[in-house]
Amino acid sequence: MIKLEYPFTKDKIRELKVGDMVLISGKMFTGRDAIHKYLHEGNPSPVDLNNQIIYHCGPVVLENKDGSYEVKAAGPTTSIREEPYQWEVMRDHGILGVIGKGGMGPKTLEGNKKYGCVYFHAIGGAAQVLAEKIKSVDNVYLKEKFGSPEAIWELTVDEFPVVVTMDAHGNSLHEKVNTDSSNKLKSLL
């Protein structure tokens, strides 16, 4: 088990390899479909994402009476929908990690290599285990515009469990499993 701690650096990110099980501690920002499309259209990010990690997640968040927030459930959402935009967000906003589920495609893999980024796979559906790792909700951006699940939530996490499935060296576990299972299926039909 590898521990990755804030502040994150390109060097640390480039050390990670496909199959590594990693516990992330520090900051992360949620961002999913609406945010990626918004950034792709050239809108400025409401928060500096340089050297930060984006988490493909639309959490269940309750607002307390004192105005603070409480995350009730926060698992990853399917990442492949961001495939057209992700490499651009790496290029234009300097992110060095993406957390999601289901993996991403060749554009993102290329982006990983070029801009020094990795794709971390969180366990899809494990909303409670992952919500427990969130220690605080520090801010929220674009909530009014996009609604709660699509907003950027700034979170502090402690030992958030993920698996590296696409590294910064051109390796993708998803590509491998897809090719292997496709070949296997041909032999079984």
């Binding site: 269940v60 899809g124 559906g125 609604g147 699940p149 998803h174």
Partner: protein
């Protein structure tokens, strides 16, 4: 004159008589009047009694109506509480038959692999969600509700109360704000809108109580669902069970880990594009350990699970031994020109619960 006088006397006497007669008559009239008055009084008395009776009846009726209103209000409140509780439990707990196969899958994976790691987190999540009474998965999905009821259920009212319960369930965090206007992208934050919730009624005269099944199906697994039209040249799939098998396995391979595997397939052979998908979802209401009454389908269900698990896609698509936890297949008639195979993929966070209601609209027992 005397005669005249006599006449007069006579006249006077006759007038006297007349007067007397009149007096008698008057007396009679008076008596009659008295009698009438008496009768009238009696009538009034009777009327009063009658009025009192009517009043009593009215009060009784009012009480009855009030009781009915209270009873209705109570049963409305009971139904609201029932739907809220059903939503809470469906979102936070997976059914026992699913839990069993998840544990089996965990035991099957090799130690110290990412597949085992994934299954361990999945199992820990199932336990934690139940303990905290919070959503297993943050995508609390499309709310599918299937209601089977005896004759006479007020469906309009049922829908209204169900919608109220869903709004409440969203406010307290059993459900995510999950319903978005497809044109404007606006999220009202209440989970109510065209198509939401997805509510189906089925009247069954043989039923004595209302049965409700709820299923929460997330978007990730819904997105990897697929519909094939046979024949399919690319896959070499013809209009027979072998062709059906080929397209199902193709869908499993294409889904990879994107639907939050290991998953369960609900499949419909036949129907049209609409009914096929709907029926494929109804297959997901079946218990995982039930037996398909059709021997060919029973065989196919088993074969799909075994073959899929040889593909090495594994939990989350990390590679591993469990790609599918189950497969349920149903059949609808088709048109001569069409042969659809509709496949719905359910993630491991298989949220499906069912209840039977008492006459008071309270939860009588849990089906699963």
């Amino acid at each position: 004159m005397a005669v005249r006088k006599k006449k007069k006397v006579a006249k006077t006497s006759s007038t006297k008589k007349k007067v007397a007669k009149k007096k008698v008559a008057k007396k009679k009239v008076a008596k009659k009047k008295v009698a009438k008055k008496k009768v009238a009084k009696k009538k009034v008395a009777k009327k009063k009694v009658a009025k009192k009776k009517v009043a009593k009846k009215a009060v009784k009726k009012k009480v009855q109506i009030a009781k009915k209103v209270i009873k209705k209000a109570n049963s409305d409140k009971a139904l609201f509480d029932t739907m809220l509780e059903l939503t809470r439990v469906t979102s936070a707990e997976i059914p026992d038959d699913v839990q069993k196969v998840v544990l089996k899958a965990l035991a099957r994976e090799e130690k110290n692999t990412t597949a085992e790691y994934a299954m361990n987190i999945i199992q820990a999540n199932i336990v934690l969600a139940k303990k905290k009474s919070q959503p297993i998965c943050q995508d609390t999905g499309t709310i599918h509700i299937f209601v089977e009821h005896p004759v006479g259920l007020d469906q309009t009212k049922f829908r209204k109360i169900t919608e109220k319960a869903i709004v409440k369930a969203t406010q307290v965090g059993y459900l995510r704000q999950n319903s978005v206007d497809s044109l404007t992208g606006k999220n009202e934050g209440i989970n109510i809108g065209p198509g939401h919730p997805d509510l189906h009624f089925k009247e069954n005269p043989k039923r004595k109580s209302v049965k409700i099944s709820m299923m929460l199906k997330g978007g990730g697994c819904e997105n990897v669902g697929a519909q094939y039209s046979l024949p399919n040249t690319e896959l070499g799939a013809g209009r027979d069970l072998d062709g059906v098998r080929k397209v199902i396995l193709d869908a499993v391979q294409k889904a990879q880990g994107k639907g939050c595997g290991p998953g369960v397939l609900g499949i419909c052979i036949g129907g049209d594009r609409g009914s096929g998908y709907k029926y494929s979802k109804e297959q997901l209401l079946r218990m995982l350990d039930d037996t398909n009454p059709h021997p060919d389908l029973k065989k196919l269900e088993k074969d799909i699970v075994e073959t899929s698990n040889k593909l090495g896609i594994g939990p989350m698509g990390f590679g591993g031994k469990t790609t599918l936890l189950g497969c349920k297949i149903g059949v609808l008639n088709r048109l001569p020109a069409s042969f659809f195979v509709s496949i719905s993929y359910m993630c491991w966070a298989y949220r499906r619960k069912g209840i039977e209601l008492s006459n008071k609209m309270e939860i009588k027992n849990w089906i699963y």
